[in-house]
Symmetry: C2
Subunit: 208 residues, 2 copies
């Protein structure tokens, strides 16, 4: 039952550009902080000398003229994803250069295991059918206290350094996303991904 074990991370980038209009040598400075989301890809998908085949990451890009778009990384089939930001920014630049939005229906795989879709959080929800939604919030009940069974096929929604906008917050409430937290300090989103992944690993180590 492979698909029961998938863990999905959905990162909402309020200003992250949905196009390839950024400079590789100034990724953080020119991409609406897409670098923040790129680092979450590493945290979710990679471990020491390997790719988490059971992980999936969605980057919801709400910045720039081509927004909204979603980039999806599937650990099960991803190739050539390395942990350094240079590699991640190159991959994102290639994927975000893809086609006209008129040509895109659902998720289109542009690179091995990396796909792009038009739309915002609803494009992700359509793709996530059946996953139990959680939303990471400061001060919410501790992820360590959530029963293992409820985490078996979970999707974790996270804001970036801007936090949540009203539309996303409303949509997550509508789907009944449960607030959970990871401790007393307000952390970078990639650290939150790492902490949730570790908690899932402790419940059920990923397949070798």
């Amino acid at each position: 039952m492979y698909w029961r074990r998938v863990r999905s991370f959905v990162i909402i980038g309020q200003s992250a550009v949905a196009s390839d209009d950024f400079l590789l040598h100034d990724f953080a400075g020119t991409s609406g902080r897409l670098d923040v989301l790129a680092r979450c890809v590493r945290a979710a998908l990679l471990f020491s000398h390997g790719v988490r085949r059971d992980a999936c990451v969605y980057l919801v890009l709400l910045g720039g003229p081509r927004a909204p778009r979603v980039v999806r990384f599937q650990g099960a089939v991803a190739k050539f994803v390395r942990p350094d930001e240079r590699n991640l920014s190159v991959q994102l630049k290639k994927v975000l250069a893809y086609g006209d939005d008129a040509e895109i229906t659902g998720f289109v795989e542009v690179r091995a295991g990396i796909s792009v879709a038009k739309g915002s959080i609803d494009a992700v929800l359509a793709d996530l059918a059946g996953a139990t939604p959680f939303v990471l919030e400061e001060g919410a009940p501790d992820v360590r206290e959530v029963p293992a069974a409820e985490l078996a096929n979970a999707a974790f929604f996270m804001g970036d350094h801007h936090g949540w906008d009203a539309a996303c917050r409303k949509r997550l409430a509508e789907i009944g996303a449960r607030p959970i937290g990871v401790g007393p300090v307000s952390l970078h989103t990639e650290d939150v991904v790492t902490l949730v992944s570790n908690e899932l690993d402790r419940r059920e180590p990923p397949p070798a």
Copy 2:
């Protein structure tokens, strides 16, 4: 008693260059994987919109002709440290360009809160006087089980993607470093830093 609360992370880079002989646009490819250590600096020192004033990071650089050298980041006084690899690589390049080794005695502050020293793990141990040493190892007892009092003034030694060499392992055994672990999966070193930091945060949240 500020200094009782300091948390120190010591990352051993078996191949990471101890000089500024690397390319900013190919940091991961030309620095002996100093990028792996740079990412640990972010994990240890930064949280959402702030610097952990109670954290200190030592990068032990064992690669290249100027090795061994140590770069120390002190959260208490660090400035201009940002989370992206570009910024971290620029900071490291400037610090590692510093002077002749003949001029360096102890730790020399080259940038605000960023210092360099000659030497390897012993240069770190001399600077850490009094800290309780722990060494991160796979399969070791869980950090979650370590009593809070023992973590009050701790130094956590971690390998990079190459793991440990015999000399470091012997030195850590001599000082009585206690093996601890963070779960069932072999993770990137920066994720290990994040997990240990979170466990410390849960025992005693850092000062505002």
